[in-house]
Each structure stands twice: as structure tokens, then as C-alpha cells.
Symmetry: C2
Subunit: 440 residues, 2 copies
């Protein structure tokens, strides 16, 4: 009995993160925090558990949201399944403590009882930012700039942010006499990249009830290509007289103007009349972000403007705009593209332990390197040199620095570059500078 | 009915983090990550949910651990109550993927159904680091250095890391003929700072069953004051011939030697023979960390060496050493000491929106400031100047930069220092440099 071990399996649909995966994830989260903060977004956090009523909303369908729900004493609670509903509750609860407009980011895990057969996990991190309490177009423009800077800061050069505007879309539908069928039309339109023009027309003319001519017109606009100015000029003619249509066009026109004026590369921002982003939540500008080299994985950063964040919790209208970085999808893409370094250590230098009586020297040297900004590990025991170098190699260190009695007597260190397979002798007094020079 | 709102309360024992609190918390976590990484500790993550069996261990008493436990389909699962048990399971599960010695940090929330009447929360963040797979004293010494550097990096100058060694303690008890009563003796000793010498003697001579002479001797050692060398010399005489006692003394002697050699300030590291840190988990060096200005809040970073991390999950012995930073306790202390900036924004500069037709200029200027490393927000609407400055003040911006038609025509900006209540006119071409100079 004393010998029987407990199983080390994770719960189905859950997984551990090993150092290499976790370092990539942490780097991504740190970049997101830095970019969000640079625009004045501040962090918040909310509990992992909420009252189920908060998460389910009115007449909410539990199975829809795949909640992890349970009784805690007399309380009916559940683990949050996204960061939007908790943010709505938070905003309503703290209306008197926050000053509007309020800009927040929230990076935290959420839980959903997803079907794991599709390779989905039941725990994943969301990375959202939103501006609430204003309907100013400046915030829509800023949201786009944040997405741009975020992608650039992560290290991408070839990406496209596709922008559209729900009011402009609705203006177009209004002009086609399709406004009352907009939900069905947009739902069909959303499938364009997946199922192609013909199938979309079929869906619009079938269950949605549009005429072939109406559907054709909608698709002609959806497939418009050209500069934003060219597309807006075309759309503008068509929606003239539709208030929503004109508003959408004017806001997009300002967005592209300000982006140009601010020096955002024009090729990264595209007006795409075909994107509709789901159903009724978004009411204004919408955003999707694609990696040019890997469009198939879908949008890695999406969002849009909505009319009212927290109607379930407060009578104060809270219009807002925001987006969410798809961390897991992005990490998968970065791995495919070879952008993830596979190292199991954040340290760059291993101080080999050659002679345990010299531990003080090894530790002091490591300390000097750290103080110069070089992450440095000391191997804890005087195991064979070969074994320590294997350890260094396996974990992904760049340099090993080595000194035994001979080196201490001569006042030097051996510096071994494990990537370049080169070794040099460096005077002890110059070690820190030399290491920094090699590491660049 | 449409008007009835859902309550915005958090679940009992849970709380939201508003921007000012969250910014302080994020800064602390970032400092911890930086210091841990600088020593070669790498991050891992484990699921929030584990099979209950994993968390309860063998014959585990559920009420003891105050688990949030529930059925998920047919699965008996629970939310993790600490990061140590998940780490043990992780290490056993991934033994073939990690290379020993393995150094990891893990910063993540844990959940306990604590009694909330004592002001405790049921969700809090733990911040652990450990080295496993080696019993080398180098790792014990490094653990102490990490604690030291962490406290210094957070911004503390006056702190004391109290160090002791369970084997040395046991050697002393062995010499007093108290080895078999060590659990009771050490449990009593742990209470010394709280209940005082007399009460400890009473407990030792009462239920524990030591003689008054034995108890007196233990307390004489526990109350030894002096340099580590002085204390070790005294203890060394007494434990001579006890193998465990001599091992403990030798390891501590090396620890203090190497710390001195590495330049750690001697006044920050104290040998304190009275600390025992709980019961049977720790088997070697133990650490507690106190803020000199606020000792009463207790140890803010504690840990020690243990013989075997994962005996429940694997037959491979995994000796290790590590510690845990008490984030919430530390944040409370920092608030008391005035070390937490109370700002609701991470941005330093607010670009006032004076004329909405100039949005492109405001955005471009903000962008230039951000690219120079200055977090900058643009107010999204041309509301009154007074209102925007109030917003800036309330959120804690340092500077507001202002330009309307006059300024644009003259090629200048008004730079208003909201802290110093000063204003100056700066040429547009020099704005970025001037702002950086003011912010230092």
C-alpha cells in the first residue's frame, strides 16, 4: 500500500505548460502588457469564480456557455468562461471608483467545458483590452493602433488588420432593402472565406430570403478590392441618404486618415467590406487580424465597437470598443513560423562547477554577471565537465564559463560558446565585458 | 422585468482588483519573474483544476485543505489550493522531459475556502521558486541569494533574512536527549516570538514532556545572538559527534562564507536558531524574511530544503529547496510604508483633445512619445479643457500636453506639469526630448 502511487494525469482537457512553452507565453503576455500600458490601458483582475447568475445572464442557456458550475456551500457559483461578462459586472460595480472613459486590460485564464475532440483545451488565457464610456471615434482608431503596435512588438512584419464598420454594412443592406434580414445576411457573409461566393449566395437566397439580385449586390460590395479611399468612394455613393451608412463611411474615412497621418504602414490596414464578426454584439467598427504567411489559422486579434457593455448590471449606458489577442492561436502560428526559441532556461550563461571549494568564486562571478544584466546560473555540484556541458546544451544556454585551479592561478576564465562551438581564454577582470560583448 | 438588474456582487471571499492595486501587484510579479529568471529559474504552469485525489493525497483530510471540490461530469475535481502539490505531480509526470537539477518558478492563483472572518480571501496569488533534483548546498545558498535580490529589487533596503538548519536543530535536540520529542519541541519553539520564553518552557515541560533543564538549554540556544560565526562556534561545540548536527553546522558555515564572498550585506542575513518553520516538511536549511520596519506582519518570503518533493507520485526521490514570496502580505506592508504609488493609469502623459479635427496630430504626437518610451494617452473627445485636466489629475498623469489652433500655427505645445503645477511652451520639434527630460 505504501508503494502505490497517485496518478499524475491532468484532468481531461487540461494541460501543463513546460518551460519552453511557458517562456514563449510569458514573453507574449509581457509584450501585450507593455503595449497596452503605453496607451494608458491599466490592468484589472476579477475572481475566477462568479455567481452563476452573473455568468448566465438573463435566460442564459448554460449548455451554451459550457460552464464549470457547482455549489459552494449554499452558493451557486461557476468559473468564468470569458473576460467580457466579468468586466461588465466589474464596470457596473465600480462605476463610482473608475473615471470614464475607462481603459482596461485583463490577461487571465478562463474555463469552458469545450469538446476536447477538436483539439480544444478547457482552460486558456484571454488577453483583452477595452475603452468604455465613450463613443468617440478616437477610441476606435486607437484600438486599431494598439492592435498594430502589438503585432509589431511581438515581432511580426507581414500582417493585415482588416477593418469594417457594422453601420456602413447596415447602410448597404438598407439600400438593398435587406435591413430586416441583416442577421441572416451577415451570418451568411461571415462564411465567405470558408465556403465561397456561390454557397453564400445560396444561403442568402435560401433560408434568409434575399433575392438573387440582392445577394449579388451584397457580395459585389463584400468583394470590393482597392485602397480604403477607393472602396469608401464606391460605398459612399451607394449609402448616400442612409444615416447609418454615412456615419460608418465618415468614421472609417477618419480612421484611415489618422492612421496615415500617424505613420502606420498603409499595407497593413485594409478595408474589408466582407467581415461582419458574428451577430448582434458589435455595432460599429470591427477588426480582424491576419498573418500574411499563415492566414489559414484565422484572425489572431479581433474585436469591435459595441453600444452597451453592461446592460444586465446597470442602467448607465457604457458604449465601448476593444479587442482580444488570441494567445494560443498566435503561439501555434509562431511555432509554425519558427519564431519560438526552444530553450528550457531563461539564463544565458552557465557557470560550471569544477571545484566545490571554489563555490564562493563561482557564486560571486555569477552575481557580477547578473548585475551586468546577464541571467546566469551556477551548476550546483562538481559533476564531470562533460555532464555539465551536456546539461547546458540540453537546456539551451549560450555560454559556459569554466575555471579550475589552473585558471584561478592564472587569473583567467575559459569561455565556451555552446552555439558556435568556440572557446576562448578571458582575463577574469574582463569576463563580464567579454560575455556581454559575445551575447550582444 | 426588462428593468431588473443582476447583482454585481463578487462571491463571498473573492474580490476585484482595481487598477491601482493591480498595477502594484503586476509590478511585484514582474520583479519576481525578472529576479527568478536572472538565476536560471524557468516558468511553468499547471491547471487550475486537478483530480481531487491529486490534491488530497493519501488519507488527506479534505476539510483541512478547504478545497473547492466538485463533480465535472464523472470526474471528481478540485481547484488547486497551493502550487507545491501541483508541482510534485508535474515533476513526476514530466520527469523524462525536464533535466535535473530542475529550477522552476510558478506565479499563479490558488483557492481555499478559508474563514473570511479573519480578513482572508479565498483566492490569492502564490509566487514560488524551487530547485529540485539535487541536495547540493549550492542550491540552498542560491535560494538565499534569490530571496535577497528579490527583496532588494522590490525596493527594500532594511530587511533581514533569518536562516536556520533543521539538521543542526535536531543535532542540538539529540544532544539534549530530546530527538524523539522533536516535533513537540519545535512546535513550541516556533511560538517563541508570539508567546515568549516562559510560555514556551511551560509547553515543552508540559505536554511535550521535556525536563525544565532540557527546555532551558533549547531556549538558550534559540536565543543566542551574535554573528553567524559566533553562534556557529557555540553550537559546533555542543553538537560535536552528532552527524546531523555537524552537517547542519558545516552547511550553514559554507552558506555564510559564500554570501560574504559574493558581497551580500552581512546585516541582512542572520542566523536565528529559534526558527523551525512548522513541522515535518522541511529537513535542511530554512528561511524567513522580515521587513525591519514592519516585523509584525510576519515573514514575507519563507521556505526551506525538503528531502522528497513527490513521494506520492513517483519512486524517484526528488530532494529540493525553494521559497515562496507572500505577495498579498508584501503589498499590504508596502502600502503601509507608502511604497505603493496610487495612480489609476500606467501612462505618464495625456495629450489633451482640444480640437477634434486635429485628431491626426494628437495621435501622431502620442505615437512619437510612445516610440520614445513614454506611455501616452490621447483624450478621445474635445471636451472642455478643465474637464480633461481633472481627468488627468484624477487618474494620476504627470504631464498634460496641449495644442489648439494657436499652438499649431506657432509650431509649439503647452506642457503642463500636473504634479508641480507648472506650465511651459515647447517647440513642437523639441516636445519629445523635453517631455523625456521632465519625466527624468
Amino acid at each position: 500500500m505504501a508503494d502505490s502511487l497517485i496518478s499524475t494525469q491532468t484532468v481531461k482537457g487540461f494541460r501543463d505548460s513546460l518551460p519552453d512553452a511557458m517562456m514563449a507565453r510569458e514573453a507574449l503576455m509581457e509584450t501585450a502588457r507593455r503595449v497596452y500600458r503605453s496607451y494608458g490601458f491599466s490592468p484589472i483582475d476579477t475572481p475566477a469564480l462568479e455567481y452563476s447568475e452573473v455568468l448566465l445572464g438573463k435566460g442564459g442557456d448554460e449548455s451554451d456557455k459550457q460552464l464549470f458550475r457547482f455549489q459552494q456551500g449554499k452558493r451557486d457559483v461557476a468559473m468564468r468562461f470569458d473576460l467580457t461578462v466579468p468586466f461588465a459586472r466589474f464596470a457596473a460595480e465600480h462605476l463610482n471608483e473608475i473615471t470614464l472613459p475607462f481603459k482596461r486590460y485583463h490577461i487571465a485564464p478562463v474555463w469552458r467545458g469545450e469538446n476536447t475532440q477538436r483539439g480544444r483545451y478547457r482552460e486558456f488565457v484571454q488577453c483583452d483590452f477595452d475603452t468604455i464610456g465613450t463613443d468617440a471615434n478616437a477610441s476606435d482608431i486607437e484600438t486599431l493602433m494598439v492592435i498594430h503596435d502589438l503585432m509589431e512588438a511581438i515581432g511580426f512584419k507581414a500582417f493585415t488588420i482588416r477593418v469594417n464598420h457594422r453601420q456602413m454594412l447596415n447602410g448597404l443592406l438598407e439600400r438593398q432593402g435587406l435591413l430586416e434580414k441583416s442577421t441572416g445576411v451577415l451570418r451568411a457573409l461571415d462564411k465567405l472565406p470558408k465556403i465561397g461566393r456561390e454557397a453564400v449566395v445560396e444561403e442568402m437566397t435560401g433560408q434568409v430570403g434575399a433575392t438573387p439580385e440582392q445577394a449579388g449586390k451584397v457580395l459585389d460590395f463584400a468583394e470590393l478590392r482597392g485602397t480604403p479611399d477607393e472602396i469608401l468612394a464606391r460605398v459612399s455613393e451607394t449609402v448616400a441618404g442612409s444615416e447609418r451608412g454615412e456615419t460608418g463611411v465618415a468614421r472609417l474615412r477618419e480612421l484611415f486618415d489618422v492612421c496615415r497621418r500617424s505613420g502606420l504602414p498603409a499595407e497593413r490596414i485594409r478595408l474589408d467590406v466582407s467581415i461582419a464578426r458574428g451577430l448582434d454584439y458589435y455595432t460599429g467598427t470591427i477588426y480582424e487580424t491576419f498573418l500574411n504567411e499563415d492566414e489559414k489559422i484565422g484572425s489572431v486579434c479581433s474585436g469591435g465597437r459595441y453600444d452597451n457593455l453592461a446592460a444586465l448590471f446597470t442602467k448607465q449606458p457604457l458604449p465601448g470598443v476593444g479587442a482580444s489577442l488570441g494567445l494560443d492561436r498566435l503561439l501555434a502560428a509562431m511555432e509554425n513560423m519558427g519564431l519560438v526559441k526552444s530553450a528550457a532556461t531563461p539564463a544565458q550563461v552557465l557557470v560550471v562547477c569544477f571545484d566545490e571549494s571554489r563555490l564562493g568564486d563561482y557564486m560571486a562571478t555569477a552575481r557580477a554577471l547578473r548585475q551586468a544584466g546577464v541571467p546566469t546560473e551556477v551548476y550546483p555540484q562538481a559533476k564531470g565537465l562533460k555532464k555539465q556541458l551536456q546539461y547546458a546544451d540540453k537546456k539551451g544556454f549560450t555560454l559556459a564559463v569554466i575555471a579550475g585551479e589552473n585558471e584561478f592561478n592564472a587569473g583567467v576564465w575559459q569561455v565556451k560558446n555552446l552555439k558556435a562551438q568556440q572557446q576562448e581564454t578571458v582575463a577574469a577582470a574582463e569576463l563580464v565585458d567579454r560575455v556581454r560583448a559575445i551575447l550582444g
